[in-house]
């Protein structure tokens, strides 16, 4: 049957197409508390604000136009003693290419058949590099040890030779 909750569409386009939405009803925020919203092959986007989903903060439905990338709705929370504290609701767009820039926007059909749309944000997936081992640093301690020990060795060698010569003459 028809769902009592409004259906939301998320759309993601590649760098060549940008959505121009003249009426911006809400802005997409950064999901809070993450190490990084951008990985090499996926991006994390905050879900639209609660006014679009009713009394509780759960997103019920996402339908998406056919697209190569796959999406997950994430809900991360603690369950303690029957209370569920939701820390994060986000949308993970996967199947992306490392080092690419993507533009993201929401357009949500409302109950009164109007469409609410968000701003367009651009996010870049991380470039996956090869780990390089840079030149090691030489520390001062090594230079000090090497120089002083070389001098000491030299002194002792010279001393021993001198002693042998002196003792030989006696």
């Amino acid at each position: 049957g028809a769902s009592p909750w409004p259906m939301a569409e998320g759309s993601v386009t590649g760098p060549s197409n940008l959505h121009f939405n003249l009426l911006l009803d809400f802005n997409i925020s950064t999901p809070p508390g993450l190490l990084t919203p951008a990985f090499a092959e996926s991006l994390l986007v905050a879900v639209p604000p609660c006014q679009f989903t009713g009394a509780n903060a759960n997103i019920r439905h996402f339908t998406a136009p056919p697209c190569r990338s796959r999406r997950y709705v994430l809900s991360v929370g603690d369950s303690n003693d029957g209370f569920t504290v939701t820390r994060l609701d986000a949308y993970q767009v996967t199947g992306l290419i490392p080092g690419q820039t993507y533009s993201i926007s929401y357009s949500i059909p409302n109950k009164d058949h109007s469409v609410s749309s968000s701003n367009t944000i651009t996010m870049q997936t991380l470039q996956r590099e090869l780990a390089s081992s840079c030149l090691m640093a030489r520390s001062g301690g090594m230079v000090v040890i090497t120089v002083l020990l070389s001098i000491a060795m030299f002194l002792l060698l010279v001393g021993l030779i001198a002693v042998l010569v002196i003792a030989g003459r006696k």
Binding site: A40, L130, S139, I145
Partner: protein
């Protein structure tokens, strides 16, 4: 008196080197897999040189007290020989420490190459990293982003969507149960350990190097005038 102090110092050096060889921090695989383990080689050498210095110290005291020229000459030559070895041990130990832990690059590259690799070295290194990450509650070398920013052997086995980093990076409760697998997977700061292991590993290798290198250096600086005085005594015999 001087000889007595000398012998005690050398026994302490011997014990310190035994401590380094015992490797209580258990970071040997990092050095072993890199193909050179000079910090530990330095420790082994200084065990033997420390003990040799001790024996020669006793021998030298007997020689000087009895006034036997041959004994004192033998003492001086053998001391010089052992001195050379101890010098070598200090220098190579410190140089290798610089090579491994002066910056995180070598350790990071090694971790990304060998972690989760099915080879014998890979298994050994994986065990070591797993233990450090779990015990110290750290992740990666500089942090979990090491696994995402760079390509790795781990990445070839586990796609980024499934597991961007090893799940040993996740915060766990006292029973070692992961608090939230989903939260850890997406990198939520409440569910993942953000700090890297490099400080811990650097501290371990540095402690070993300070013990072998600097203490050995101090002993050699002290031994040099002692030997010069012994040489002077030889000329008066």
């Amino acid at each position: 008196m001087e000889g007595g102090n000398f012998c005690c110092t050398l026994l302490i050096a011997c014990c310190l080197s035994v401590w380094v060889t015992a490797d209580q921090y258990k970071v040997y695989p990092i050095l072993g897999v890199s193909g050179k383990d000079d910090v530990y080689a330095g420790a082994w050498i200084s065990i033997f040189t420390g003990f040799s210095f001790f024996c020669l110290g006793v021998f030298g005291i007997i020689g000087l007290v009895s006034g036997n020229r041959l004994m004192v000459l033998l003492y001086l030559v053998l001391m010089l020989f052992v001195y050379m070895f101890e010098c070598a041990s200090c220098i190579t130990s410190y140089t290798h420490r610089d090579f491994v832990v002066s910056n995180p690059n070598l350790v990071t590259k090694q971790m990304l190459t060998f972690y989760a690799a099915p080879t014998a070295q890979g298994r050994e290194l994986t065990r070591m990293w797993d233990r450090i990450m779990m015990e110290q509650q750290y992740c990666g070398t500089s942090g979990p982003m090491d696994w995402v920013n760079y390509s790795s052997t781990f990445r070839t086995f586990y796609p980024e969507v499934v597991s961007p980093w090893p799940f040993l990076c996740c915060k766990r409760d006292p029973n070692f149960v992961i608090l939230s697998q989903e939260g850890c997977r997406i990198g939520h700061v409440d569910y993942i350990n953000n700090k890297g292991c490099f400080d811990h590993i650097g501290h371990a290798v540095d402690s070993y190097t300070w013990g072998v290198s600097w203490f050995g250096f101090a002993i050699l600086m002290f031994t040099c005038p002692v030997m010069l005085v012994a040489m002077y005594h030889y000329t008066t015999l």
